[in-house]
Every structure is written in structure tokens, then in C-alpha cells.
Amino acid sequence: MKMKAILLLGCVSLVLSGCFKLRGHYGTKSYDAVARPVNSNDIIVPDGYKIEALPGSFNFPSGITIDDSGNVYVLEAGYSYGEIFTVPKLLRVEASGKQTVIAEGSKNGPWTAVDYYKGHFYISEGGSLEGGRILKVTPEGKISRLVENLPSFGDHHTDGVVVGDDGYIYFGQGTATNSAIVGKDNFDFGWLARKKDFHDIPCEDIILNGENYETENVLSEDKEKVQTGAFVPFGTKTVKGQTIKGSLPCNGAVMRLPINGGNVELVAWGFRNPFGLAFSPDGSLFVTDNGFDERGSRPVFGAGDLLFKVKAGTWYGWPDFSGADSLSGENYKARKIRPKSLLQKYPNKPPAPVATFGVHSSSNGIDFSTSSTFGHKGDAFVAQFGDMAPNVGNIYGPVGFKLVKVNVETGDISDFAVNKGSKNGPASTLKGGGLERPIAVKFSRDGNTLYVVDFGVLEMPEKGPAPKQNTGMLWKISKL
């Protein structure tokens, strides 16, 4: 018996000390622009396709759209994790690389997505300082607010926007927190010090189990212990059976409003960060949802990013499920804490996702192929920003940093544009000239060209995310 124990110990330490190296912090805490070598030969695409870099650079680009004449427009976010504020911009981009400013926003980024529809642009304004908004922009650059005060002060913002053929603007609204408990991780993000009372708002009434989590009081000098429950401000306790009133607009939801403005309506809820929205060729709405992180007061291990087909009126499981899986089993247990169920009753059985992406891959922008010339008609193309490890959890190797293709019938995911080499990762760590952090994708009007927005370099030094200014760019994929 003793022998076995010694052997076991030896084995464990051998393995741990050996080649299983977890990814640590990297890079420097500076926002200054860095040189970004660009070489499309460092990227593999499937046989029969080519990828090219378009000239010009962008400052934290996040979205893309195309007008009726085929002009390409890129959105610059004006904010990045790491708490850097710049000017959000909508730019028209010519093939020569020439950029023309169409509209500029205020210090309330990030502008996360844009859609062009019948002569106007619709932009989701992340709203980290003044709340989220959906903006309508004329081709001359006149901005009007269709809705404001969306609950967007937290970890995740007002996200993906797409106009449906029904004349409604659909958009995502991310949650304030990782898993419904405001904690030290939100203080580290930067927003909790600004918005001490902010927390997640459910879309409908919910009844709590009264789970509370103890942390030090990051908002006081004394750092005394405080307890925080779900869907309440930092330092507020909840009790079993307590009802939290639902209201609109809410967090972790896909909502919609009429194209000319009006009341916000709920489409579906129980998402975490519904970042990318797109209609499939048959008119169904799909959403990419960034899964839980292993961070904060209620960390969750091993939750993938998910692709859902949106069914109106449905609850999709946050904060107690990852897809159809309950977090309370063995599989989602973080190092020390098992995520207990926060809600006493569920609105419905959460639906299974259409596909499950890499844990921490940050699967974001999405579009569908509609062209038999380009091929893969009906498949979804998803831009993976790439992990922000180790802050989001430990990993053995970089996840994401590429473009993937998804068969939405089978959930089959395959790489479509990925950096060459034996290891995965962003170009800057592979020392190549390929993809850095793809964040949005869009097919041209004829469907024959796929544009990929690359956010640029974002490193993860110990002091928190360090995005590098003006390292963003645009790629173009087409059939040979």
C-alpha cells in the first residue's frame, strides 16, 4: 500500500514537472503600437482557397459590414479589455487601403458590431461608461440613439447586432459577471470600482437558492469579509426562496427592437455573452455565446463556447448550465469549488447547443456561406479571438486565434484559416506573419469573398490584458 502511494506520488510529480506546461502570462503591460509583420503564407486555408492581407491597419477593429454597392466598412471599437479608451469609429475602407471616417463615437465603447440595412448602419455601442446603446447612423455619419441605458457596465457589453428581414434589429447583451456573482474578478476588470452597485438583471422573475460567496471587501480599505449572492450588488447577501424581479432590458439576452426605434422586446435569455449574431440562409437566427471562465467567486472549469440556434422565448441556461449540462455535476468543478445551482426553478430545460467550441476560444463573429461559388453553402464561419489565459483559467496550449467552419446540422467544426506550424497560437507568439485575433467575419454581397477582421495583438502580462494599438487588420479569403 505504502509502495503504491510512493509510486503514485512519483508519477504525479513526474508528470507535473514534465512536459505538461500550462500557459502562463506573456507580453508587456503597454498599449503602444508594435510592429506587426504580415505574411499570408504563414496561414493555411483549405485547398482551392487563398487568403490575402488587405493594406492598412486599424485600431482595435471589432466589426464589419458591406453596403448595397459592395463598399466595405470596418468598426473600430474605441475600447479594449485592459481598460483603454480610444475613439470608436465607423470607417469606409477601399481596396487600396484608404480609410474614410463615416462616424465617430464618444468615450462609451466598445462599439462591438455593425450591420448595414437599407441605407443605414446599425451599431451596438458597448457602453462601458454610460450604458449600452443601439445606434442608427446615416451614410453621412449622423448618429441617432434607438435605445440607450442597456445594462452594459460589466464584464460583457452590448454585442452583435443584425437586422432581420422582419424589420427588427436583433442584438445581444452580455452579462455583468462570469457566473452571476459580483466579486474580486470584476474589481480587477476595472468596472466594479466605477459602478459599485452594478449586477446582473434577469429577464424574467427568478427564485434564488440563497447561495452566497465570501470574499474580501475590495471596495473598502479594511478589506473585511463580505458575502455576495446572485443577481445582487457586491457585498449583498441573498436568502433561499428570494425572488429577483425580472425586467427589460436585461443581461445575458438576445433582444430586439423595431427598425425605427421603439420598445425593446425579449427574444431569448440565459446566455452569458451572446457576441455574434447571424441569420442562416433559411432565416434562422444563430448566436455564438462565450462560455464560463474559471475565475471569480464561482469559477467554472471546462465550459466551451457555444453556438445556439435561437428559439424565441427560450431560456438557455446561464448561470446554472453550460448548454444542456448542469454545472453542479463533477465535470465543471473548478479546483476547489463546485459551482452550486443558484436558481431554485428553471424556466425550461436548456437546449443543447448546435456546436461546442474550444473552452476559452472566445468564439465571436459569425456569418453564413450562401454561395455555391465559395462553397460550404449553409455552413457557419466563426472568428475565434483566442484565449485570455491564464486570467480565464489554465490551459495546456493556446486556444482559438483562427477561423473555423461549422456544419450546423452535425456540430462538426473544422479549421478554415489557421496559422501554420506545429503549435497553435497568435502570429506574435509564433513569430510569424499570420492571424492574430480574428474577431468578426462577413461575406461579400455576392457571397464569393469572406472578409476576416483581425483585432490585432493583445498580450496577457501579469498586470492584465495589454492590447497593442493600431495592430488590427483585414484579411480576405476567396476561391482560387
Binding site: K4, L7, G302, F357, V359, Y396, G397, T410, G411
Partner: protein
């Protein structure tokens, strides 16, 4: 006798685990269209994408270690998929019951994993 056997088993698995974790051969990225795979491998691929992909994306490292650059004996992989006990409960990888992955599904999954190794060039 029984203890002796389990000691050998531990040493054996331990070495396998260690050695497998050290290889760093070049990988060809997996861009094969599923229609080009034979039926069993294709079935295994769908199971992999739905059950394993999130931690071993396309066989590469992620929340779990890479699988496409090493050759673990099939019986160890089978055992690990079915039970956490295989690596002595040291790991974080979930186990999968027959309800989640059938025996036939497991055969297909193994065929897919073997095919993934062949990608290795």
C-alpha cells in the same frame, strides 16, 4: 499478487503518460472534409467534435493536452474515456458513460483518433 499487478500497472501507465506528454512532432492541421473520411472515422469525428473538441480542439492542446502528436495504447484511451480512475483520479477530464458514448461510438471515436495520428507528417 494483486498489489504487484497494480504496481506494474501504475508504473506502466505513468511511463506512457509521461512519454506521451513529451513528444513534439510536427502536426499537419486537420482540414480534411468529413465527406472524404470512411464512415466509421466520420462517425467518430462527429462524436469527438461534440464530446471532446472543447478541451482538445481538433486534437490540439487546450484545456486538455494535445492528442494529435502522440500514440497512446487504445486500451488506455478507452479506459480513460470510461473512468476517471484510469489516471488515478489525478486528472480533470470528465468520464463518459455508455449512455453518453455507446460501445459502437467508442470504437468509432478510437478509429477517428488513430486517423488523427496518421495526419502526423
Amino acid at each position: 499478487m494483486k498489489t504487484r499487478l497494480s504496481v506494474y500497472l501504475i508504473i506502466f501507465m505513468c511511463m506512457g503518460f509521461y512519454l506521451s506528454s513529451c513528444s513534439s512532432r510536427r502536426i499537419k492541421k486537420d482540414m480534411t472534409e468529413i465527406s472524404r473520411l470512411d464512415d466509421q472515422v466520420a462517425e467518430g469525428r462527429i462524436i469527438f467534435k461534440n464530446q471532446c473538441q472543447k478541451c482538445h480542439p481538433n486534437g490540439e492542446a487546450g484545456v486538455g493536452p494535445s492528442l494529435n502528436d502522440k500514440k497512446l495504447p487504445s486500451f488506455i484511451i478507452r479506459a480513460r474515456i470510461r473512468s476517471r480512475a484510469t489516471f488515478l483520479w489525478t486528472g480533470r477530464m470528465p468520464s463518459f458513460s455508455k449512455h453518453e458514448i455507446s460501445e459502437k461510438g467508442l470504437d468509432a471515436l478510437l478509429a477517428y483518433l488513430k486517423n488523427m495520428e496518421k495526419k502526423d507528417k
